[in-house]
Structure formats: C-alpha cells, structure tokens
Symmetry: C2
Subunit: 254 residues, 2 copies
C-alpha cells in the first residue's frame, strides 16, 4: 500500500465546494470517482483544505492510499483523462505513510481578487468580486497591519465552525493593484471557517470608506463575528498553495 | 431619431458568435432582445466585428437607431440590467447619424492567449489555448516580422469569406510571455475571416519548432490557405478594441 499526494487545481464555479455531499457535485466527490475508476479500488481522498462552494484553488493538496501499479508520478496525467476540464491534478508523488495533509504547521496562501471598475468585466467575472465604488488600497493595506501575527480571530470566523481555539497566525497580508484588478494576498499557518473572506469583506469596507482604518483593530478586539465586515463572495477567493514544514510531503519514490 | 454607439464586452464561451442566427444564442441576438425590451422599439444593432463562436471581446462596437428618451450616456447602465452577466455594455453615447461601425480605416486590436505549461490551468481554460509543448516566443516574434505591413493575406483567410480583396494591413504584432501566459497581440486596419486565428496557429507551429521561422514568409507568398498553419481554437482569441479615425465615433451629445 502506497500513500499518494496530489496537488489539485480547480475552477470552483460549478461545484458545491470540496467536501463530499450526497446530493451535490463536489471536488472531492469527482476526485474519488475518477480515482476509483482509474485504479479499480474504492478510493476516498483526504483533502488539506475543504474549500467552500464557488471557491477556486490552484494548489490544494490531498492524499489517498492505493495498491495501484501505476507509477506515482504518472497518476496525475492518467487521472486528468478521467476528470472534467475544470479540475486538473498538477502533480502526483508517493509520500510517507504518516503524512497527513491537514497539518497545523502548514503555510497556506490565499488570494482574494476584486475587479474595481464602473462596469464589470465579463471575462473576469468568474474569478473576481466586482466592486463599483472607488477603493483606496493604501488605506486597506494600513488597516490590515494589525491582523498580521498571532491573534484571536474569533470576529473573523463564521458561525458553524467547530474549532477548539480561534487563535491563528497570519504571517503576511499584501494588497496589490494592477489596473482594475486588486489582489489581497493572505498567508498564514491556519485559517478559521470563512476567515479570509471575512478579512476581505472587512478590508473592502475600509477601502470603500464605509469603515475607518481603525475599525479592523476594533473588530479584532471585539471577538464577535457581528463586529466584523461581511463575508466577501466566494468567487473572488483562490487557494494558491500549501507549504509543508520539513519536507514532510516530499516524494519518497526511489 | 438618434444613432447610439455601444462598446460591448463579452465572454463568448456560451454563444454561437456575434451574428444573429435563428436557432442559436448569439451576442447580437441577446443585445437586440435587451434593447427592444428596454426601449419598447424593435431594435437591430449593427456590429463592427462579427466575432466567431467562442471568441471573446472587451471592446466590440455596435450602433442602433432609436427614439428612446433615455439619455444616451445612461443606456449602458440601463441595458446591463437586461443582459446576462457574460455580456456587459461598457459605454454608450450618441454618434453622428452617418457613423457606421464597419469602416475600412478602423484600427482593431486582437489578443490571442496561450497557456503554456505541462498541465492546463482550470481557471485560465476558458480564455486561453492550452499548449503542452515548449514554445520559443523569440522565434515566433522573428517569424512574425514579415506579416507586419500591407500584404495579400490570402493564405491566412478561411474558405467561406466573400472578401473582394485579400490585401490587408497589419500595423503591428507583439508577443509577450508572463509566466505560463503567452499573448500574441495583432493590430491592423482590417482582418479577413479567421485571419488572426490562422496567424496564431501558424506562429504557434513555429514556436513549437514544428515549422521553421522562414515558413511564415513562405505561407504569405503561397497565397493559398492550405500553405498556412491551423486555425487556432476560438477560446484563445479576444477582440480588445477598435479605434476609429478622425473621431468619427465621437459623442455628439450637448
């Protein structure tokens, strides 16, 4: 039995998120089905990040155990022939049997993208959140400084989370503008339910001048979801990648 | 009666091109329907570029005549409430009653986008053409030089065109690489049927090393469609914009 790691990219537009559901199409469900038909085994993957409905990923990670004789590094290519075009496996390799993709010390990078113009752009609409009002990205950046570091992010966590602690570490927030495209890049070692989208929604309110720059610090101190801004729409969010410490996800073939 | 000019952007993925058809959804058909319900008149637009099925646009132009009392500059916003999200009117204004959008002296800019990587990117798949093989963009650029200028582009015109002459002027071709994204930008005063996609397909063959750099000059001289490369897939092509000479498309309000 081998443990195989996959790096998975997907357009989340047409899926009810990552996690398996009975009556809805999910990324995990499609992967399980494709892997089972590829290997002839009954495969259930374990994902690193259970992204929400409509959220995209360029580098989610999952693992599964298999007896297949397909060489580990060839599984990506073989699997892609069993997958729809909006899901692609970018990489496959064999990892240690004790590697688990949901590890507390991973570094995850998310990007939240905003299309800021008077009229929405049809070819950006699926991967950005359209905002009509002028956005001051410098104000957003200044307001975001207080979020970097280890904090209790209780205000930035949706109800329905069953996290035992709401303390998390954000290692960096960058905000870039390139024409009409604004990217909020958030890196951290762990994220609460909807945390990046609530951070994005709160910073967008600052950028539009609906909340003062100091409001983010007040939200953090309130430790109350009602104090923070709205959960920004799913389509703007992309999980860019996950880095594991000490090479624990390394290829152990050969 | 006023003549109104619209600048129209669209994601061509789900349409059978610009031009009205009886049994297929087209950009023109959707615009005619939205304008007719907005104004209460029976409106038929005249488009500048009748883009093919699956081709995108960020700045196509069309005109129509109307008695509506909606101020010309407000038509864009009002019309967008009647349109699906994959079609947006970016701008509207009143133009001279003798302005016609298909004018010989316009300058059109097209971009043909390639995603060049070992595995396709799901969130780029609708707006780029995926190519697995290594592409030498410098070779493409050198090969493209002979296309710039006034030439008989007969080899770069699909059958089915009823153009009276196949002489056209390409004013510039740029080729850029930004990571996996390669953009071929073609500007010219007129284009034959499928001309940009055949130029893109021919240059891609040079970039992949399937044809020598000198092949483009030979294609041009052959004046035979069979001598040129394949018509590159529609999804990679976007009509970026159209410039009219002497401000003939200028806003005449007020």
């Amino acid at each position: 039995m081998k443990r195989i790691k996959l790096i998975v990219s997907y357009d989340g537009t047409n899926y009810s998120g990552w996690q398996l559901q009975n009556n809805a199409e999910t990324i995990e469900g499609v992967l399980n089905g494709a892997l089972s038909s590829l290997t002839g085994e009954s495969i259930i993957v374990t994902g690193a990040s259970r992204t929400d409905a409509g959220v995209h990923a360029l580098g989610n990670v999952c693992v599964f155990d298999t007896e297949t004789r397909i060489p580990p590094e060839k599984i990506a290519l073989a699997l892609n022939t069993h997958l729809p075009e909006d899901i692609r496996v970018m990489h496959s390799c064999e990892v240690s049997s004790d590697f688990h993709p949901r590890h507390a010390d991973t570094l995850k990078t998310y990007e939240y993208r905003i299309w800021n113009d008077r009229i929405a752009n049809p070819i950006q609409r699926l991967y950005t959140n359209f905002i009509y009002y002028d956005i001051d990205t410098d104000a957003m950046y200044r307001a975001s400084r207080c979020l970097v570091g280890e904090h209790d992010f209780k205000s930035f966590c949706s109800a329905g989370s069953n996290a035992t602690t709401t303390v998390r570490t954000v290692t960096g927030i960058d905000i870039e503008r390139d024409g009409c495209l604004i990217t909020i890049r958030v890196k951290g070692t762990g994220f609460l339910y909807n945390m990046v989208r609530i951070i994005a929604g709160s910073l967008m309110n600052v950028g539009m001048g609906l909340s003062p720059e100091s409001s983010i610090q007040e939200m953090l101190e309130a430790k109350d979801r009602a104090a923070a801004g709205p959960t920004a729409p799913a389509c703007g969010l992309t999980l860019m990648g996950i880095v594991y410490p000490n090479g624990e996800d390394r290829d152990i073939t050969g």
